[in-house]
Symmetry: C2
Subunit: 317 residues, 2 copies
C-alpha cells in the first residue's frame, strides 16, 4: 500500500461492471460458462460487488440472453452483492425472480441521450421507475439508480450540475440510496467531478454516490483521483477495460478495474482486492474476448516486480 493522501478515504468499494457493461456490446455471444468463469475469477480476486448482468429483451441485447443462468450461478454467494440493470417492469420481475440483491434503474441526465438510449423522454423513464419500485416493494430487492451522461452528453454537450442533482433527488425520493454517476462517453473531468460531488453530497447527504468513469479522453483515473480527494468511496470499473465507447471506433471506454485498484492501493486506499489475481482475471477477459484490452497494469505488471539487469536494453534517458 502506498502512503495515505490527505483527505482520501481509508477504503473504497469497486463495483465490477465487466460482465454487464463490458460484455453487452460484444457482437459475438460469450458462452455462459465463460461469463461464469470470468465472474468467478473476479470473486477470487476479492471483488464483492458486481453489476452482473441485465434483464433486457434478448432481441435488443442478445449478449444478455443468459441473465437468469448467470445469476443462478452466484445467487448463493451471500458475501457478494449482485445487481442487474433493469429497463422495465418485465425485466424487474425477471431480476427479482432471479434473486438479485438490487436492480439498477437508469436514465440519462440529458433528454437527447435518453431518447436515443431508451426511446422515451426522461419524465417517462421516471414514471417507469415508480412502477418498478411498486413491484419491488416487500421483495427485499433494493433499487439503485444510474444517471447516464452525468458529466456531459455527446449530443447536447455540457450537462448542468442542477439537472444531475434534480435527477438524483427524484431517484432518492423513489427509495434509491445508491446512485451511480455514469460518464457514458468520457466527458468527465476532475474539475466537474469535484463540483458535482460537492453539490450532490451537500444536497443529498443520505445517498451514496458511485463514480463510473470512461477513459475515452485519457483522464478516467485522474477523475477517480479527484473523486477520492472529495472522499468518494464507491467506484465502478470493468476488468481489463472491457467495453468500448460505442461512439468512437478507436476510443477506449470503461476504466480498467485492475488499473483503478492499482491507483487506489498506491494512494493508500484499501479495496480488498489482490493485484495479481486482478491481472489474471484481466488476462482471462482478454482471452475470452479474443483481442487486446486497454488495461495497462496487465501489460506492465506490478510496480515492484523488478527485472534482472540482463533482460532488457535501454536507450538514454
Amino acid at each position: 500500500m502506498g502512503r495515505r493522501i490527505a483527505g482520501f478515504p481509508e477504503q473504497a468499494v469497486i463495483t465490477e461492471v465487466g460482465p454487464r457493461d463490458g460484455l453487452q456490446s460484444e457482437p459475438v455471444f460469450v458462452p455462459t460458462a465463460q461469463k461464469i468463469a470470468l465472474i468467478q475469477s473476479l470473486l477470487d480476486a476479492g471483488l464483492r460487488r458486481f453489476e452482473i448482468t441485465s434483464f433486457v429483451s434478448p432481441r435488443a441485447v442478445p449478449q444478455m440472453q443468459d441473465a437468469a443462468e448467470v445469476m443462478a450461478a452466484f445467487r448463493q454467494r451471500r458475501d457478494a452483492h449482485l445487481t442487474a440493470l433493469v429497463p422495465n417492469t418485465r425485466g424487474a420481475a425477471a431480476a427479482i425472480e432471479a434473486g438479485v440483491d438490487a436492480m439498477v434503474l437508469f436514465a440519462s441526465a440529458s433528454e437527447s441521450h435518453n431518447l436515443k438510449n431508451v426511446n422515451r423522454p426522461r419524465a417517462e423513464s421516471l414514471r417507469g421507475f415508480a412502477e418498478i419500485a411498486k413491484l419491488a416493494e416487500g421483495t427485499g430487492v433494493a433499487l439503485q439508480g444510474a444517471i447516464a451522461t452525468a458529466f456531459g452528453c455527446p449530443f447536447e454537450g455540457d450537462v448542468a450540475v442542477r439537472a444531475v442533482v434534480d435527477q438524483a433527488r427524484a431517484y432518492r425520493d423513489l427509495g434509491m440510496r445508491f446512485i451511480t454517476l455514469g460518464d457514458t462517453t468520457g466527458m468527465a473531468t476532475p474539475a466537474l467531478v469535484i463540483e458535482w460531488l460537492r453539490a450532490l453530497t451537500t444536497e443529498l447527504p443520505d445517498v451514496d454516490f458511485s463514480l463510473h468513469f470512461h477513459n475515452t479522453r485519457g483522464v478516467g483515473l485522474a477523475c477517480a483521483y479527484a473523486g477520492l480527494s472529495q472522499g468518494a468511496r464507491y467506484f465502478e470499473s470493468s476488468i481489463g477495460g472491457l467495453g468500448g465507447c460505442p461512439f468512437v471506433p478507436r476510443a477506449t471506454g470503461n476504466v480498467p478495474t485492475e488499473d483503478l485498484a492499482y491507483l487506489f492501493h498506491e494512494s493508500g486506499v484499501a479495496t480488498g482486492t489482490d493485484p495479481d489475481l486482478l491481472i489474471r482475471a484481466a488476462q482471462l477477459a482478454e482471452r475470452i474476448i479474443g483481442r487486446e484490452l486497454p488495461g495497462q497494469i496487465m501489460k506492465a505488471g506490478p510496480r515492484l516486480r523488478t527485472a534482472p539487469m540482463d533482460s532488457v536494453r535501454t536507450a538514454n534517458g
Copy 2:
C-alpha cells in the same frame, strides 16, 4: 477552460520531448524533413519548449544522427526554447556549436539503471557533468538536469526520496536550475509525486522541477494531476504518446502531450496550446511512425464536439 481547482497553478509549461525521447528508439530512421515537419506542427500548436534532439554517437542511436540539421532548422526561432540531450563532452561541444538553448545532462537515481543506461557509476556521470559545465562556461548555453528512474528502478525497485534530493542538489551545485524528474519505467504514483515535490521544493527552492511521467501503469495523468495539486508548473510529454517503454513490449510509455494539455485546460491551467492543432500534430506523428499511438484525445476528439443524434447507436447505459 475548465474551472480552477484549489491550489493549482494558473498556468503550466509543457516541454515536448517527442522529437527526441519519442523518436529515439524507433528502429526505422525518420527522415530529417519529417522530423522538422513534426516540430513545426508542434510549434504551430503553441508549444514553445522542446527537447528537440540528442547529440549522441550516431552508432549508438542512429535515429539522432541528424541532430545538427534538426537544430539548424529551428535555431532562429527566438520564441522557442530548444534543448538537447548530451551524454558527454563531445556531444556537448556539438550541441553548443549547433546553438541549443540548454543541454540536458542525465543520470539515474539508481546505480543499476545508470550502469545499464550509460555504462558507468553515477559518481562518474557527475564527474562528466562537471567537465561539460566547464565547457559550457561563457557560451551562454544553460545546463539542465534529468534524473532517470526518479520514482523507481526496474532493477532495484523503490528509490529513496533522499537519493533524488541528493542528486538534484549535486545538479544544482553544478549550476542547473531546471531539473526533470524522469519516471523512466512508469513507477511514479500520485503519493510519491506529492512526497518527492514536497521534499525537493523545500530543500532546493531555487530549482524548477519538471515532471516527466510515463503511462506504463495507467496513472500518468493522475500523477500529473497530483503534481498540479502541489503547484508544479513544468511538465514533459510526447505528442501522441510517441516513445514506448523499452522494457515491456505491449506497455505504453510517454504521456501524450495532447491528453496532458486537455487535462490541464479542463483543470483551469493554461498551457498556451491549441487543442485542435495538437490533435493535428498527433495525427502527423501517427502517420510518420506508421502505427497507432496511445493518445486518447486524438481518437475521441474534443470534449464538446457534439454528434448528430442519428450518427451513432447506443446500448443501454
